[in-house]
């Protein structure tokens, strides 16, 4: 009994020390590029790109394993800035045309369960138990996390509301 405890403890200490030494001397330098890419990404960890969060996505983009157009909330502007950062050319015509979507809560169907607001990565939903919830459009990134969990399916993903402040002249129709 005592021998077994002693052996396991010694093994644990030795392996732990080995790991500690390895992490110090065999450290893989994280490329500076990954950090720069991560700084550009929205940082809401929404997972729409298929990666578990913004940091793994940034690493994949920096290593060329994922396209610069991977981030739906970032949209065209992000794809463009990533392309300039990495010096790659990109076909932006495919990215565009998906207007940024915003969550909208249908108040008649909301039961005030607070499931959505607990999942919102940017705290864009306000509400409390048994109170109708509402979305702050300015803070919503359209990550659809709330949309997935709503038990009454009262959340709809819609294009952002057009106001006089965000309306822009259309490009002239002309060859």
């Amino acid at each position: 009994m005592i021998a077994a405890i002693f052996i396991l403890t010694a093994l644990g200490l030795a392996l732990g020390a080995l790991l500690g030494v390895a992490s110090r001397f065999l450290k893989v330098e994280e490329s500076a590029l990954t950090g720069e890419v991560e700084a550009l990404l929205p940082g809401s960890q929404c997972g729409q790109c298929g990666f578990p969060g913004c940091a793994p996505a940034a690493a994949a983009v920096a290593n060329g394993e994922a396209p610069v157009t991977l981030c739906p909330p970032g949209g065209r502007a992000l794809a463009e800035s990533l392309a300039t950062l990495l010096g790659v050319s990109v076909d932006l015509s495919a990215v565009e045309d998906k207007a940024p979507m915003i969550a909208h809560i249908h108040e008649r169907l909301c039961i005030g369960c607070t499931k959505c607001l607990k999942r919102c990565p940017t705290d864009a939903i306000i509400g409390a138990n048994d109170q109708v919830h509402a979305v702050f459009e300015d803070a919503c990134t359209g990550c659809e996390k709330c949309w997935e969990v709503c038990p009454t399916e009262c959340i709809e993903m819609r294009p952002a509301t057009q106001t006089v402040q965000n309306w822009v002249w259309p490009v002239p129709e002309f060859a």
């Binding site: 809401s44 990565p121 705290d123 006089v164 965000n166 002249w169 490009v171 002239p172 002309f174």
Partner: protein
């Protein structure tokens, strides 16, 4: 006075004779007024009235919010019948927050409306403060809150106040009529603004196609040595403030800077009139002069209109249309915005309503650019419009920006002279709007990132707090158990 030349510009037929001979008349009170909460550059005003509330003329309806904003007052006495959304006087045709007021016909001023006997005895800050409280904004069309401009004194070395009476847009005659009919009031407002700014030199610039206004303002200014009335050459866009200042002083405003950078502040004569009303009599800005003109209008007129009156009420007062107008415009024909419908309200910055016939608009199908460079010689800002449009068309907005897109004032001189009828200004409006949208998207991204970080920090802190609380509770339990054990041992012992 020596005048300096500016480059570019065009000479459109001014068509001012349609309305210039008509004295300003008061529009009868309409059945309903729709008063938008955003009639100025900056933050929208915040309503302070409730539905079914009775208000007097000049009573505050909505207060200013933030540094750059302006309050909104009741244009007449009556009852607030709605606080909701109503189509805006804006090219998008979208609805905006609007207060709907039903006039009671008495047009009774609020009891607290009181003027100042000797406004020149006031501190300059106090003048600016009274102008701010009256909701006065730049009435030439830019609608920048005037009081903010009157407070520039603290940050810039100012020496001259320029009054922009050029009214270079064709068709419009509202400033012309105001200067002719109320020259003393306009001059008083001008002197009050100069007092607020602390400048002694005042130049009133009026284009040579308005001899009556020049004579009236000259006569009114004769008694004051510091005020000079200057006849400007008639050329569009003389009313662009940067070009006006360059014509008068020979100094160019730095790119994307303010005229205050070279010590000059520019105001409009209608703004001066509003300042006079606000300071002398305490009356907030609740009405303005609007020119209703164009060949499709039966009787073109200059009307004094309560803010919030529907455009259709103005048109009806002018005898309606003689023929179906090809195009309806709010503002002048060069820089005005298309009106989608006639039920939209007149706002503080609406200086004209134009109903143009097919012959006047002379619309043609655009054809490809032939690189004749007419637009280059017409551009008053020294840009190359054909190049900017080409870059915008292929989606290279950064290229357009690096070629000076942001220095474009949108005057429309290039589109006016273009023999291929290319809608150049729409390209630039699109590009500027798209650049602004990108800026907003970038800001939103930064903000949501901050929110996401704060949230994860908060969750971490909650977790930590929970762990600590559990550890504490455990320690307490242990201590209690130990104490109990000790007590029991003692008891046994």
């Amino acid at each position: 006075m020596k005048l300096f030349r500016i480059r570019g510009g065009v000479h459109p037929d001014d068509r001012k004779a349609l309305a210039a001979g008509r004295p300003i008349e008061d529009l009868p009170l309409p059945a309903l007024l729709h008063i938008p909460l955003q009639q100025h550059i900056g933050a929208a005003a915040q309503p302070v009235v409730e539905r079914r509330q009775q208000v007097a003329k000049g009573e505050l309806l909505a207060r200013a919010q933030g540094m750059i904003s302006a309050p909104i007052h009741a244009p007449t006495s009556g009852r607030v019948v709605g606080l909701g959304y109503y189509p805006a006087n804006h090219p998008s045709g979208l609805s905006v927050r609007t207060i709907t007021l039903q006039p009671d016909g008495e047009d009774r001023w609020h009891d607290d409306i009181r003027g100042v006997g000797d406004p020149f005895g006031l501190e300059s800050d106090e003048v600016a403060q009274r102008v701010a409280a009256a909701g006065v904004v730049g009435m030439g069309g830019a609608t920048f809150p005037s009081a903010v401009k009157l407070n520039l004194r603290s940050r810039y070395q100012l020496h001259t106040l320029v009054i922009n009476g050029s009214e270079c847009e064709p068709y419009l005659t509202c400033d012309d009529r105001l200067m002719r009919e109320s020259s003393d009031a306009v001059l008083d407002g001008v002197r009050l603004m100069a007092h607020a700014l602390g400048v002694s030199r005042i130049i009133i610039g009026i284009e040579g196609n308005k001899p009556e206004a020049l004579a009236a303002m000259g006569a009114a200014a004769a008694a004051f040595g510091a005020v000079r009335v200057v006849k400007l050459p008639t050329r569009y866009p003389m009313g662009s403030e940067k070009h006006l200042v360059q014509t008068l002083t020979g100094r160019e405003t730095p790119a994307r800077g303010l005229t205050a950078d070279i010590g000059v502040v520019v105001h409009n004569p209608a703004t001066a009139f509003a300042v006079h009303e606000a300071v002398r009599f305490g009356r907030p800005l609740v009405s303005r002069v609007v020119t209703v003109t164009g060949a499709a209008v039966a009787e073109p007129r200059n009307l004094r209109v309560p803010i919030g009156t529907k455009v259709e009420d103005l048109v009806a007062h002018c005898g309606g249309f003689t023929e179906e107008p090809e195009r309806l415009i709010s503002g002048g024909p060069m820089m005005g915005q298309p009106l989608r419908e006639l039920r939209v309200p007149i706002m503080k910055g609406s200086n004209g309503v134009l109903a143009l016939t097919r012959a006047e608009t002379n619309r043609r199908e655009p054809s490809p650019c032939i690189r004749c460079a007419s637009c280059v010689s017409a551009c008053p800002c020294g840009l190359v419009p054909l190049d900017l449009a080409a870059h915008t068309r292929i989606g290279d907005l950064d290229g357009a920006v690096s070629r000076g897109l942001m220095d474009c004032i949108g005057c429309g001189s290039c589109a006016y002279v273009c023999p291929a009828h290319i809608p150049l200004v729409q390209y630039f409006n699109y590009a500027k709007g798209e650049m602004a949208a990108r800026g907003r998207a970038k800001q939103k991204q930064a903000e949501t990132k901050r929110l996401a970080e704060q949230r994860s920090e908060r969750l971490e802190a909650q977790k930590r707090a929970k762990r600590e609380a559990m550890a504490k509770a455990k320690a307490k339990r242990d201590a209690e158990a130990k104490a109990k054990a000790a007590a029991e041992a003692e008891a046994v012992g």
